[in-house]
Symmetry: C2
Amino acid sequence: MSQEVENQPYRTLESRYITQTKWRSLREDRLEIGAGREISYSYLEIPRAVFVVPLTEDGQLVLIRQYRYPVRDWVLEVPAGSLETPDEDPLVAARRELLEEVGGECQKLIHLARFYSSSAHINLSSEVYLAVGVRLGQQHLEETELLERVILPAREGLTLARQGGITEGQSAYAVLLAESRILALENDTWLK
Amino acid sequence: MSQEVENQPYRTLESRYITQTKWRSLREDRLEIGAGREISYSYLEIPRAVFVVPLTEDGQLVLIRQYRYPVRDWVLEVPAGSLETPDEDPLVAARRELLEEVGGECQKLIHLARFYSSSAHINLSSEVYLAVGVRLGQQHLEETELLERVILPAREGLTLARQGGITEGQSAYAVLLAESRILALENDTWLK
């Protein structure tokens, strides 16, 4: 994630946690930003995460409709979640979220990209995977998770993402990152 | 942004600000989530924002490379920023960010979508615009902004976004939301 030190234009003078939990901490740093000037910068620290675009054996995308309290809204998403520990293999986390959130198991996970979610406010960095050959079973939800599966033909899901119908931007972006692979798989298999 | 009250599954019992500034507040709410169960939920409150995909008169995309302290990285983005007040017209904010961050003025702003950036952690909700007919002048940067313009043919920008090369997910998504309009404009004008 980080680059070489010489590419870091700010120097961290001091750092403190205003609140700190395993899943979400507010951190406030005092920075020297050059020419002796100092500013303070606060941001949210969150574990790294994975986003999984599940594609079933017969070419359906599996989305979830989930209630998100910070926006007081139900949003369309792909299965996603935090790494359990900083050094957890993201592939393990991807398989877990796929299983827990939509009850899916897959033949293969294809890594598509890494992205930041809102890098002015939050350190969140996520890996995106396409899960191919997904078979759906029972969901394994946490008690506080309110979500339902939404299963639709892959082309409809891609159109939805392209038109702004997947209002969670992270998930919409994950779906669009998978587009070329999905269309290639479609040509290879479903139509033959 | 919010839906009808009957679609709100949680009831807010209590709300407090752990820190509160104009641009970034950490809020902690106590919620009743059904069957008498209570949880606490903390999240970041941020003003609404705008993202602007600038397309010049000769078919170039204008991106910026910006240092983002929370991720200790330089990221590719489109011009973006917060509304100055909650009831500011997002179109006004879009023109301002376009001018400040890349020194651009445009013939027209086309609204593409609204999206959430990371709705489990932050209430951020943003409007996305395509700015067409952009002419570039002088940037008007804030003192703490470290950024440089990156100008490239629109098709290269679209490919970059599709392949994960625009590591700010919000900006990559904004570019992909603009794809069909950009390609339609390309057919209409640049190639004729």
